[in-house]
């Protein structure tokens, strides 16, 4: 348990690792918009190339990148199946009398959908989870959303909660393990029996875990009060985020990429989405 680091942060030194986390959030949003801008073969080709570029620039081993795609495998297969079989078009590929009708348009649609999903996941995991620690992500979100404070949305409090949650995940997971071991030492059995029996077997773990979590919360609150915590007002910060020139360049590049896609979409080549 001790070796596990939470989140998928992969320590390396790349342009993305060095970027301001706020810039990375903006980039991720821009990239998502870009994937939806793509309409035809050329723009999707450009998108694919850009995604490959991102992977190379991030210096994250391909093996680890692919791992992030595994959970969406089902969605990919499912959407492509729907696209293949549910799209009607002008060029039927299967014989007339077959019950299943596959059209050329369906295949194109499926391919585009898969590319869109894969690029979406790859880019967000590169910009956000792989190259940014959860903490700086929380920090960046607080900064980006700070205008919302004016309409009385407690942005600081949410960010604080997130930081504390991240801080306590390892502590509580260690604690869970300890409690499980303690109950196993008293003969508790979590692995066999009916569903009901197994659910019931969780009580000896959950009760002490909740008791301890509440105790911790109470003690932490006291400790925070002792350290003069009184909400976000009038707080300063040790590590203030600073945009650098490279952050702006990256954002401009991505905006330019979006505009480029828009132009590519106007070229009529092979196939375009309806």
């Amino acid at each position: 348990m001790k070796g596990i680091s939470f989140g998928q942060y992969y320590p390396a030194s790349s342009v993305f690792h060095r970027m301001d986390p706020r810039a990375k959030i903006i980039l991720a949003v821009l990239y998502i918009v870009s994937t939806f801008l793509c309409k035809n073969v050329l723009s999707f080709a450009a998108l694919t190339i850009s995604a490959l570029l991102l992977v190379i620039l991030s210096r994250i081993p391909l093996r680890i990148m692919l791992r992030s795609l595994r959970p969406i495998l089902f969605i990919v297969v499912f959407t492509s199946a729907i696209n293949i079989f549910a799209t009607r078009g002008a060029h039927r590929l299967t014989p007339e009398h077959w019950w299943l009708a596959i059209y050329e348009e369906g295949l194109w649609n499926a391919l585009f959908m898969v590319l869109r999903i894969v690029c979406l996941i790859l880019s967000t995991s590169i910009f956000l989870t792989y190259t940014t620690t959860p903490v700086s992500l929380a920090n960046a979100l607080e900064r980006l959303l700070s205008p919302l404070k004016r309409i009385k949305i407690p942005v600081h409090d949410f960010a604080m909660m997130m930081t504390i949650a991240l801080r306590f995940i390892p502590t509580l997971s260690e604690e869970t393990e300890k409690i499980m071991n303690a109950q196993k030492a008293r003969g508790a059995n979590f692995t066999t029996g009916s569903l009901f029996a197994r659910a019931k077997a969780l009580i000896p773990i959950l009760v002490p875990l909740f008791v301890s979590a509440f105790n911790r919360a109470f003690e932490l609150a006291t400790a925070m009060e002792c350290r003069c915590y009184h909400g976000g007002e009038g707080r300063t910060q040790l590590n203030v985020l600073h945009y650098r020139a490279s952050d702006f360049v990256a954002i401009l590049l991505l905006v330019g990429f979006g505009v480029g896609l828009w132009f590519l979409n106007r070229v009529d080549f092979l196939y375009r989405l309806g």
Partner: protein
Amino acid sequence: MTQPFIHTENLCFSYKDSEGAGEHPALKGISVDINAGEYVAVLGHNGSGKSTFAKLLNLILEPSSGVLCINGMNLTEGEIDDEQLMELRRNVGMVFQNPDNQLVATVVEEDVAFGPENLGVPQEELRRRVDDALDVVGMREYAKHEPHRLSGGQKQRVAIAGMIAMMPKCIIFDESTAMLDPGGRREVLDTIRMLNREHGITVLNITHYMNEAAEADRVLVINDGLLLTQGTPNEVFSDRALLLSAGLEVPQCSEVVLELREGGIAIEGEDIASLQGCADMIARAYATR
């Protein structure tokens, strides 16, 4: 004479039970004065009220009755506004028992910065304070580490650094060594003594380890919510029966001297709390027997 840093008169506190009807008195009237720059140990068994006493001193709990003055501020007279409370807590820091439950941030230096950040210390000074505080406790090289990967003693030193960064006049240690192994306990105790001796910080160490109390200038013994006795470690440890009645004991070396005296061997001297003192006394008695 200057006024004491902490002054209490007949300080009482009662816990309300869950129905809010009955009251359980935890402190039944404590009157002490603690001067600026003193190193005071507060001894007592579990449930004696010693932790309650500590929690009253920076108003985590509010006294039910009695007088409490800290740093010239009377805290039991009239309403305390938020600013006064902040001022009090900035001056009187507190380090708790469980190292895991007082670290807020996921990076050591950000945790140390938490207090001064709350005070609104400007960024440049903040950086200096954090670095200085980490230097004082010898944890500078761990500035970028994650707290949950540190040892217990290291975590407590980070917690202490978090207090130092607020530049308090006094730090209260509420059984801060109870969950540590001997190595970690040594680390923390050395840090405590250094803060007192070199930085002039008033220290209150709430503990039930006799050897820790022996390092203090003065020992208060609390039993059943009352101040049982107080004095220098030498004075307090010479009354073994009284300490036993409070569920405590005396350090082993003091026990040896007291046992020998009871057995009719004349061992002259007062210095009963420290090991070197006891050894000197016994050796002298042996040479002149």
